[in-house]
Symmetry: C2
Subunit: 350 residues, 2 copies
C-alpha cells in the first residue's frame, strides 16, 4: 500500500541505501541513477516517513506550542506568528490547548515529550514549580511568552512584555488627562501579569501624589463578562471613578458594553484604557485606548530563540537571554480629558 524506499529499490533494481542516498541528494551516487530514482519516487507517490527519519536522526523538526485557549485573539495572533516563523525554518507545529487547567497543561507537555518535539513554546501560562519540573524533564529548550514562572529552569527562557511599565503608561495617561479618581479592573486571580500591571498603576498614582484606594481595585476575569460585572461594582461606589485602567482589552470591552447599556457615555463620563491592542480594539465604539504589545514580534522571536537554543539558527546559543519587550500607549477614543463633555452621540472620534 504505502510505498517505502525498499519498494522503490526493488523496482529500480538497486538497494534501499542507494535510494536513500539518491533521495537525500547525496553526491556519492551516479547522477543518472539518481535522477532515475527520483522520478521513480515521484511516480510511485513516495512520501518519506518523518517518524522513521526522526527516530534515527534524533530530531523531529517539530515545535510544541502550549496555549490556554485559541479563542483569545491575543493568543491566536501569537500562534499564527509562531506557525509562520516555524514554517519558514522548516519546522512544523504541534498545538495543545489547556483551558488554563494545570492538569491539561501537564498532559500537554507530557504529550509533547512523547512526540519528541525539538522545542516548546508556552503562552500566557502560570508556570508553577510542578509544571516547571515537567518542562525540565523535556530536555529541550522552552520559551515562555508572557508567562510567569515560580522557579528557574535550566532550559527555560522567557519573553515578556513589561507589564509594570505598561500599567504605568496607561494609568499615567489617565492621570495626565486630569482624572484624579482612577480605578483598576484586575485579570484572572493570582496572575503575575495582573500584579505587575497593578504595580505600574500604583506607581503612577504615587508619582502624582494620589493615595492608593483599595476599593478602586475591582476583580475582573480577563474576559468581557468580567468587565461588565466590574463596571457595576465601580458605579456602585460612593465616588465612582472617572477613569479606569483594565487588565486587558477584553475586560475594557466589557466595560464599554456595560457603559453603553447603562447609558453612560464614553469617554465623556468615563475614560477607559485597555491592554493588549487586540485587532478588535480599534473596531469597537469608541475605539479603545490601550497598551499595545508587539504580539507577532513576540511569537516570531520565541521561535528564533528556540531554534538558536537547538543550535539550528545561525545565532549563537549564548546570545540567548530572557527578553522584556516594551508596550506602547495607543491613544484612541475611549479616553478623554476629565470634564470634557462633548456633544452626545458625537461625531468622529477615531
Amino acid at each position: 500500500m504505502r510505498v517505502s524506499i525498499k519498494d522503490i529499490a526493488k523496482v529500480a533494481g538497486v538497494s534501499h541505501s542507494t535510494v536513500s542516498r539518491a533521495l537525500s541528494g547525496s553526491p556519492l551516487v551516479n547522477a543518472e541513477t539518481k535522477s532515475r530514482i527520483q522520478s521513480l519516487a515521484r511516480e510511485m507517490g513516495y512520501s518519506p516517513d518523518a517518524q522513521a527519519r526522526s527516530l534515527v536522526m534524533g530530531r523531529t523538526l517539530t515545535l510544541g506550542v502550549v496555549v490556554t485557549r485559541l479563542t483569545d485573539p491575543f493568543i491566536a495572533e501569537i500562534v499564527q506568528a509562531i506557525e509562520d516563523t516555524a514554517h519558514e525554518y522548516g519546522y512544523s507545529v504541534v498545538l495543545a490547548s489547556s483551558s488554563a487547567e494545570s492538569e491539561r497543561e501537564i498532559a500537554a507537555v507530557e504529550m509533547l515529550h512523547s512526540k519528541r518535539v525539538d522545542g516548546v513554546i508556552v503562552t500566557s501560562s502560570r508556570v508553577g514549580a510542578l509544571y516547571q519540573q515537567y518542562l525540565d524533564r523535556l530536555g529541550v529548550p522552552v520559551v515562555l511568552i508572557n508567562s510567569h514562572r515560580e522557579e528557574q529552569g535550566p532550559y527555560t527562557f522567557s519573553i515578556t512584555v513589561d507589564n509594570r511599565h505598561g500599567g504605568y503608561l496607561a494609568t499615567r495617561h489617565l492621570l495626565d488627562l486630569g482624572h484624579d479618581c482612577v480605578a483598576y479592573v484586575t485579570g484572572p486571580a493570582n496572575h503575575s501579569d495582573d500584579l505587575e500591571r497593578m504595580k505600574g498603576y500604583c506607581q503612577a498614582l504615587t508619582e502624582v501624589g494620589i493615595e492608593f484606594q483599595p476599593e478602586l481595585v475591582v476583580p475582573g476575569t480577563g474576559r468581557v463578562e468580567g468587565g461588565e460585572i466590574a463596571f457595576s461594582r465601580l458605579m456602585d461606589l460612593k465616588h465612582p471613578p472617572t477613569g479606569v485602567f483594565c487588565y486587558n482589552d477584553m475586560t475594557a470591552i466589557g466595560l464599554l458594553r456595560a457603559a453603553r447599556v447603562s447609558g453612560l457615555s464614553i469617554p465623556e463620563e468615563l475614560s477607559i484604557v485597555g491592554f493588549d491592542d487586540i485587532p478588535f480594539a480599534s473596531y469597537v465604539n469608541p475605539p479603545l485606548t490601550t497598551i499595545a504589545q508587539p504580539i507577532s514580534q513576540m511569537g516570531w522571536q520565541a521561535v528564533k530563540m528556540v531554534l538558536a537554543l537547538i543550535g539550528e539558527s545561525s545565532e549563537e546559543t549564548r546570545w540567548v537571554s530572557n527578553v522584556i519587550v516594551q508596550g506602547r500607549l495607543i491613544v484612541r477614543g475611549s479616553s478623554g480629558a476629565r470634564g470634557d463633555k462633548k456633544i452626545l452621540s458625537g461625531g468622529i472620534s477615531s
Copy 2:
C-alpha cells in the same frame, strides 16, 4: 541520556519485552514485577517514544489541521473545538496555516503526509483539483469544513454551513423590515461560500418581487478594510441602499466603522447584517445582526467524522456522509425597520 525501555530492562534485570508489557498494562506479567517496573519507569523519568510506537503500530494518534489564518476568529474557534475534541479522544493536533496560498497549502498537506497523521481537517479553503490529488494521496480520511471542492475525493467528506439558506435568511430579514433597496458586499473573489450566499440574496429578492441590480453588489475582501471600502462605494451610488447584507461579520464591522466615521447612524439610516456570529459580533456598537454558524459544533463534528472514518469511534463508517448545517438569524441592533428614526445616540439596543 534519554531513557528507553531497554535502559529500564537493564536496571530491572528483565528483558525489554517484559518492560514493554508491564508498561502497557498487559495481564500476562507477574503483578509484582509489573509494579516494580512501573515505579522504576517513573523514577527514571521514562517517557515513551510516540514515534517508535506509531512506527510499529501504524497509527500516530495525530490529526492534521489546515487553516488559512488563525487570526480569523471564526477559524480560531473551530480549531479550539477541534483540539478539545481530539484531546478528549486521545489525539493530538498538528497545525498548519496556509495564508490561503495554494503553494503553502500543498506544502502543508505534504508535511502532514510525512508525519503520517491519521486524518486531516481542512478549514475554509478552496480545494482545487490539484489540491484534491494531494489529499487523496494521503490515504487517510479528510474532512473539509466550509471548503468548496471542485472534485470529489474518495476519502473526503465535508461539513458546510448552508450558505444559500443563510444568505436568504439575512436578506429576507432586511426585506421584511421594509427595505426595498438591499445591497450585498461580497467576500474574497471566487469563493464559493460567497457565491452561495449571494444566491440566497438573489432568491430572497426574487421571492418578494424585487429585481436584482448588479450595482448593488459591491466587492469586499472578507476583512474589515473591505467593508470600509464597500461602504463608500455604496454611498456613492445614485440610490444608496438602506439595507446591506455582508459576506461576513468582519466585513459588516468594516461598514459599521465607516458609517460611524461618516456620521451615518446605524440602524436608523442603514441596516447591516453580517454572517458568522463571531464572538465580537455582539460586542460592537450597535451589536451586529448576523447569521450564526454552529462553529464549535462543526469543529467537534469534524473530529467525530474523522475518527469514525478511521474506525476509532464507535460510530460506523458507513454512517458518515457529507453534512450541511443550518445557520440561524440572530437579530441584534444593527438592523431595524426602514424609516424607523429612533432618537440619535439611542439607549439600550442589545
